[in-house]
Symmetry: C2
Subunit: 285 residues, 2 copies
Amino acid sequence: MTVNDTNKLRYGGENMSRRDVSKIIGGAILGSAMAGGESASAQQSNTNNPVAPSYSKLTVAMLAFPNMTPLDLVAPHMAFAGLMNTDIHIVWKEPGIIKGEPQLSVLADTSFADCPKDIDVLFVPGGLDGVWELLNDNEVLDFISDRASRAKFITSVCTGALILGSAGLLQGYKATTYWAFKDLLPKFGAIPVNERVVIDRNRITGGGITAGLDFGLEIIRRLRSDDFAKVAQLAIEYDPHPPFHSGSPETAEPQTLAIARQMIAPQLSAATTAVNIAQKRMTTK
Amino acid sequence: MTVNDTNKLRYGGENMSRRDVSKIIGGAILGSAMAGGESASAQQSNTNNPVAPSYSKLTVAMLAFPNMTPLDLVAPHMAFAGLMNTDIHIVWKEPGIIKGEPQLSVLADTSFADCPKDIDVLFVPGGLDGVWELLNDNEVLDFISDRASRAKFITSVCTGALILGSAGLLQGYKATTYWAFKDLLPKFGAIPVNERVVIDRNRITGGGITAGLDFGLEIIRRLRSDDFAKVAQLAIEYDPHPPFHSGSPETAEPQTLAIARQMIAPQLSAATTAVNIAQKRMTTK
């Protein structure tokens, strides 16, 4: 047996050098978008290594839209890319540059028309004005309803849940959204739950903005495994040390909460108007 | 006094309707990039409201580069935008679409040549291959050195610290970086510290990837105030609930750490090679 042979590991019947395996596992968990190519050759079962490339390919469609909150999209994207062997589409009406709010632009690489019909995960990020606008945008709601009808998981972070709700996808489901807008969920027949990530059958909704990280790891647990998610958590060094206990209305100081509520009031008003219009549309349909 | 008058609040001598104030505060903390315009008119002192727009304008330059980790940039961007009254530039050699790793593209809106000469904050995100490549890219290192020479704060998240190091900016400074690459810091004369965010004089470095959130709030504390940062933390709902205690080498299970180390080994090797070349360049200069 040569040194080269010794370095070979048997992966579900295929020989592959340790270096190749490391590259595949490391690259993917650390976020390489390794759709097809190397990963495809590694879709073999393996019981020795919990993060071995032994999983079938997953197709993920992530909605991007004008004035979305970039972090709502980018944190879950890191998790989806870390699932390994994924085909991730950033979708909008047409491909192109999407200006976020706060202003940071990302690229939508797939049009609604070109997005695969059958997807494993549908994901919708949130925002403020950008979301209220979509709550009554038929082209968007039709696209979401169609892909959701066959998706294994229907998911959101932040106010993306309101878009799912307006597409009629949260009727009778427990769900969460950004803290300031949680009371709007029942207008879509959803049951608001005070948790960071809420899982009800195949609906997975995360709280506001930064909840995308916890959401992402819960997705990895379910689509891969706990052991896989533990490595992913270490890979993204998710060892949070927030400076204050100010991240939720329940833990924030009264003055902090009062200022935040004052800040958000005009947005809550705009959201309520859009949700009411959507609710009327849904009940008269 | 009319209803309209009653709705006016005195902000440092300027009249502004309550609605405008809410919009400015809310929009900015929640991340609106409100450079100039409305914010500029609100740069007045105010002692009643800890998040009032009473601060001078801040200019921030955030490096973006091919194969950077998108989340390294986007999480701190949310914080910088939340500083209010900021002028944020996403800078690269020339403006255009920057493909990240994992693959998600963001837009660099400012060239090195067009980036303001005097900035308040210089920020460098991290990555893997993309970073090793920059460690010996003179055009990038010259740009960073120049802006750093006048910046109030010189900052990074993840392996961005190695780029700062290679530009000679961490010599004699305490710093941190992604856990797997921490041992490389002394090659640039930096003193590695095992903390989520390390602050030494005007150098602020964050740990790997997700540390960008903690880093961002520490920046807000220093550039604005603790009260301001508390509202910002609530605004981004930063109330982390990671599913495991697996986010650092110290807390991860031995098997998790072993797999992660195996995954990262080829990258550590590539990084070490690039750092050694940089070190030689620096000592012979």
